[in-house]
């Protein structure tokens, strides 16, 4: 499927879900299309506005508790993201965004808040019994070995979250990968993230697509079909080698 029109990349509510540099994922996707001679358009969706249903890739980033609740409510009010996904659009949701696209997540006030339910995941402060103190915030470098079916190299990133995330019983989708360093979902399965159809959720900041260009290209092929190989930028290879060195044995 090649196309004349620009690939539209929606950055959802950057004021609410842009606290951790995840807007960089949009820059990476757009540049990787442009460097292949293809057209790309970044569509910033300001909070409070309706999410357009006609974009090709939707990006959600990390944010603090209150903005996260606002974002979930904004997206639930109209179902355009759900419609876009059933129409073939791809989604990359990071950290708070990952929690928001699940069935439910903890709000700042100790209550549980309803998510957008694009994926069958739920997030809590802890899944342990109430007498067990909740685990500390997961903060630090994270390395994930992706599920073999995805055909991706090792994923590098940074995590900063207080949630624990697990699939609902009978859920669809597969984990993005197995955690080699760090916490990720924080469940006994030692996994991070979800891949369900063309929807990816993960705790990896970095931004994740800057550190892992192969993941960016996977998203792009989902909406674009085959793409010409792209070695650029060489800087990304240097970065991945530096991360591998720095985190070896971690």
């Amino acid at each position: 499927m090649s196309r004349e029109s620009a690939t539209r990349i929606a950055l959802i509510y950057p004021e609410l879900l842009g606290t951790y540099g995840d807007g960089g994922n949009a820059i990476v996707l757009a540049q990787r299309l442009r460097w292949r001679g293809l057209r790309a358009e970044i569509v910033e969706v300001p909070a409070g506005e309706v999410v357009p249903a006609d974009c090709d890739i939707y990006l959600l980033g990390g944010g603090e508790d209150e903005p996260q609740v606002l974002a979930a409510d904004g997206m639930r009010r109209n179902r355009s993201l759900t419609r876009a996904v059933s129409g073939g659009a791809a989604v990359l949701a990071v950290c708070a965004g990952y929690q928001v696209i699940g069935a439910s997540f903890p709000a700042g006030n100790g209550r549980v808040h309803e998510g957008v339910h694009l994926v069958d995941m739920e997030t809590r402060r802890s899944f342990d019994p109430p007498d067990v103190p909740p685990p500390p915030r997961a903060v630090g470098d994270i390395v994930v070995e992706p599920d073999q079916r995805l055909g991706l190299p090792t994923l590098y990133g940074y995590e900063n979250h207080g949630g624990r995330t697990r699939p609902l019983p009978g859920s669809r989708g597969i984990p993005l990968g197995t955690v080699r360093l760090g916490v990720g979902d924080g469940t006994p399965a030692r996994t991070d993230g979800i891949v369900d159809g063309k929807v990816i959720g993960t705790y990896l900041h970095g931004p994740v697509l800057a550190q892992n260009p192969a993941l960016a290209d996977l998203l792009l092929t989902w909406v674009h079909g085959r793409l010409a190989p792209l070695d650029a930028p060489v800087e990304a290879d240097m970065l991945r080698r530096a991360r591998a060195r720095a985190l070896a044995g971690g």
Partner: protein, 417 residues
């Protein structure tokens, strides 16, 4: 407006603590471990937890807190207060309770004090010393893995203001978090110091709705709105000052430093310093702890101007400063040690595209991350093993170096020893 101060009489415990503080600080200085302020102050507070209140209360003190600009503003304020007499200040950058104690614990004990205080430490320090004036500049994300909620800091300051009955707050109306945090204080002096960086203040701190903004202000449906400032930066070299327009020139570069000077002058006015005298005293400061200083760098002695940018808000300010002069090569020295915040991803929030057209060189512990960021911004650049090597490669005899916290600290040690 100044009440006479009572003679100082300290408890035996505090006297012992101060003696220990002096000994520890001297020993630490002799052993060459920094300025010794931290270790001495820490020991003293362990011996006499009330020492800070005893040495700090009932004297002419001002506390300065912010994410960005607190060191510079404290320095400017100290100069302005210096027109009245001796001034104490924690000019070494030790801005938690021990550092503040160290600054206050040398005689004369009735000297005025301009104190830089860490955002999280401000409530503890200010409750102890009950300052005459508190300056609140801005709150933005910084070192996210240390304190990840900007609103939490604003809420702490808001509670503090309700407790301090006799303290005046000088607050920046352009930062909604700061303005909200200052509204509970008994008296406010509202200053328009600007906000280059709005991404951390999109949500109303009072009701969590989205804030509305236009060119001159911000407001929320709940009624929270930008207060009307009595002091503002009118342009480069001009202030609106209590209803009149006055010329204002200092030697530190950029609009951001003029805004810092306006905040400091508004605070100094509370101590009886005329604005003209305050601004005159601030001139002559050309660098603050090495910031804006020009130092020789590298084997061929390139002249490097040292600039600090440790978060997105700071980088946007630096960008404005860099672009206000003819383009020189710029060297970015970028680390992610604990004091910098371990997560370097915030560089994707910085519009590095604006560096296009000048020579860009990159070094530091996370030089590869910066290099990828620049590659996607399509800014041609070279990557170097260290700052000295990069300076050699600069194609001009003068360059700007923008470093984050530990990179800056290390550069300063290497270039000025």
């Amino acid at each position: 407006m100044m009440t006479p101060l009572p003679r100082r009489r300290f408890s035996a415990r505090t006297q012992a603590a101060l003696a220990v503080e002096r000994l520890a600080a001297e020993a630490s200085r002799r052993l060459g471990r920094g300025s010794g302020e931290m270790i001495g102050g820490k020991l003293a507070l362990r011996i006499a937890p009330d020492a800070l209140a005893e040495v700090g209360s009932n004297r002419l003190t001002a506390c300065v807190s912010a994410t960005n600009g607190k060191t510079t503003t404290t320095r400017l304020l100290a100069r302005a207060l210096g027109t009245l007499g001796p001034v104490k200040s924690n000019s070494g950058g030790a801005n938690m309770a021990p550092g503040v104690l160290a600054a206050l614990s040398k005689p004369p004990y009735d000297a005025a004090a301009a104190l830089e205080v860490d955002e999280i430490w401000l409530p503890k320090v200010a409750r102890a010393i009950e300052p005459r004036v508190v300056l609140l500049l801005n709150i933005s994300r910084d070192q996210l893995d240390r304190s990840n909620e900007t609103r939490r800091i604003a809420a702490l300051w808001r509670e503090l203001g309700a407790d301090l009955r006799d303290t005046v707050v000088v607050a920046n109306v352009d930062d909604p978090l700061v303005a909200w945090s200052a509204m509970t204080w008994s008296r406010q002096i509202w200053v328009s110091a600007g906000q280059n960086w709005t991404a951390d203040a999109m949500v109303c701190p009072q009701c969590a709705r989205l804030l509305h903004r236009n060119a001159t202000g911000w407001w929320c449906e709940c009624g929270l709105a930008r207060p009307e400032p009595i002091v503002s930066v009118a342009g480069l070299g001009e202030l609106m000052w209590f209803g009149r327009r006055i010329p204002a020139h200092i030697d530190l570069p950029g609009r951001v430093n003029l805004a810092n000077a306006a905040m400091a002058a508004a605070a100094a006015r509370e101590f009886g310093v005329d604005v003209e005298d305050a601004l005159a005293a601030m001139r002559g400061i050309g660098d603050v702890q090495g910031r804006y200083q020009e130092v020789p760098l590298g084997p061929d002695g390139k002249l490097a101007r040292l600039l600090l940018a440790k978060n997105p808000a700071g980088w946007v300010e630096m960008m404005e400063l860099l672009n206000s002069a003819p383009p020189r090569p710029v060297l970015i020295d970028f680390n992610s040690q604990t004091a910098d915040g371990r997560d370097p991803s915030w560089i994707w929030d910085v519009p590095f595209e604006r560096l296009a057209g000048r020579q860009v060189l990159v070094t530091g512990g996370r030089k590869e991350d910066m290099s990828v960021r620049l590659a996607y911004a399509e800014v041609p650049h070279t990557v170097h093993a260290d700052a000295e090597d990069a300076a050699t490669a600069a194609n001009d005899k003068a360059l700007d170096v923008v470093a984050n916290y530990t990179a800056f600290r290390d550069l300063l040690v290497r270039t000025t020893r």
